[in-house]
């Protein structure tokens, strides 16, 4: 994974990197370089300790009110479970590939579906691999996007991850990777019909008790929509996709164009 590294030139970035002084545009490249550069990871570890001391040297006592506020807020936030040891992005990717091979091998009459599923899986597998890095040595920087990536990796990397595909009635295919253990799924779709700007696709968890909004589906690149991570799955849920006003709706206003039974 040493490609495109530029050797020494990349290596010197480690100081800027641990001080968050590498612009987003360069960061992905450097992180890729670090994957294949043991020395860089070791350097980053030590320099991060030094940088932390700069933070400590800047210490300023917060206003006392902030303490109770923060402690109270924490009580309302659910904590993430630990990452199971040995569960790396590589493992996740491997498991995902196996799952997909199972799904794809008997494809026979619908090879295009197999190709589509494989393309989806490659995207997810890449995400999972990249994530292995985040989950282990670089778990520290958590932007919203990275948090979503972590959630995706947790699902596709779960031992019980299963993949389902379904045809969307208005065109396109939906793929769901679900982990019952994580009570979460990742949804992606390909080739969905384009919508006017006033409308958008919205996901729902539909249960006998009624529908719960599960997120808006953002149009992605290359005809791909999503991924969307949907958590808090409950027994009996079905995943539905509807066309709604662009801002989203509190309840579905149209019939689902795809409905995936999650209990099977």
């Amino acid at each position: 994974m040493m490609r495109r590294s530029g050797g020494i030139g990349q290596h010197t970035l480690v100081g800027a990197y641990v001080m968050d002084a590498v612009p987003d545009s360069d960061r992905a490249g450097f992180e890729r370089h670090m994957l294949g550069c043991e020395q860089c990871r070791e350097d980053a570890r030590g320099l991060r300790e030094a940088a932390a001391r700069l933070a400590q040297a800047a210490a300023v006592t917060p206003r006392p009110e902030l303490r109770d506020e923060t402690l109270r807020a924490a009580a309302g936030i659910r904590q993430l479970p630990p990452v199971v040891p040995g569960e790396t992005g590589d493992d996740a990717a491997r498991r995902l590939r196996l799952a997909v091979r199972r799904l794809v091998r008997p494809a026979g009459p619908r090879p295009w579906l197999a190709r589509m599923a494989m393309a989806t899986v490659v995207v997810l597998a890449v995400t999972a691999t990249v994530l292995g890095l985040h989950l282990t040595s670089m778990q520290s920087r958590l932007t919203a996007a990275q948090r979503r990536d972590n959630a995706i990796a947790a699902v596709v990397g779960a031992r019980d991850a299963t993949t389902m595909t379904a045809r969307v009635s208005t065109g396109g295919m939906a793929t769901v990777v679900m982990s019952r253990r994580e009570r979460s799924l990742v949804f992606v779709a390909r080739g969905l019909a384009r919508l006017p700007a006033s409308q958008a696709y919205e996901l729902w968890l539909m249960s006998p008790a009624g529908p719960r909004p599960a997120g808006m589906l953002a149009p992605g690149q290359h005809g791909m929509s999503g991924p969307v991570v949907v958590g808090h799955l409950a027994a009996g849920d079905q995943l539905g996709l509807t066309v709604e006003p662009a801002a989203g709706a509190a309840r579905p206003t149209s019939a689902p164009i795809v409905l995936v039974a999650l209990d099977r």
Partner: protein, 206 residues
């Protein structure tokens, strides 16, 4: 150019602003690692202890980078809550608990500044004019930790020190630092790395 590293211009009484931090490095019974492990199990008392230990450094870092006190306090609270939420994901093999938390803190502060910057194109020159090196104008009580870091920073070359301070305390990217200091981008990258290495060795970080 001039970079003020040690004066703290914030709200409140100067004497209240700075407190000494315990050396937060060991994994022993009082170590931050132990506290963090208890936090990961949902222990609210441990989280209170963690807050007391790390919130000053988190807030101080945010203030250096973000400058605005209200926003810095928000950043501090967000960081502490992020630590609460993700404590179980801390991996001791990847570094100390303190480094993990301060990395989250610094990143969050920098993200805040960069998103602001995109919104209202920060004027580099204004920032450059407003910081002046080592003018301890306010009567700031410095902690032992501050003195130690300050002594070590003094051992860097001027360019190393300025590069590190502008990146870490200023929240500037290496390209911006290069522009501010009027030196080549490659030079700044090297100075940042070498400066931090010297700092690491001087502080005896393992």
């Amino acid at each position: 150019m001039q970079v003020r590293i040690w004066s703290v211009d914030v709200h409140g009484d100067p004497a209240d602003r700075v407190r000494q931090l315990p050396p937060a490095r060991s994994g022993g019974p009082d170590g931050l690692e132990t506290v963090l492990a208890a936090v990961a199990r949902g222990d609210h008392a441990a989280f209170r202890a963690l807050y007391d230990r790390v919130s000053p450094a988190v807030l101080g870092t945010a203030l250096r980078v973000v400058r605005d006190p209200a926003q810095s306090e928000e950043v501090m609270q967000e960081v502490l809550l992020e630590v609460w939420r993700t404590a179980a994901r801390f991996d001791p093999a990847a570094g100390s608990a303190s480094a993990w938390i301060m990395t989250v803190a610094h990143r969050r502060a920098v993200d805040r500044v960069r998103s602001e910057q995109r919104a209202s194109e920060r004027e580099l020159r204004a920032a450059k004019a407003s910081i002046a090196y080592d003018e301890v104008t306010d009567a700031v009580e410095t902690s032992l930790e501050q003195q130690r870091v300050r002594r070590c920073l003094a051992g860097l070359t001027e360019l190393q020190r300025e590069s590190v301070a502008l990146a870490y305390y200023g929240g500037y990217s290496y390209r911006e630092v290069a522009q501010l200091l009027g030196v080549a981008v490659g030079t700044v990258k090297t100075r940042m790395r070498d400066g931090l290495i010297r700092l690491r060795d001087c502080l005896g970080v393992e």
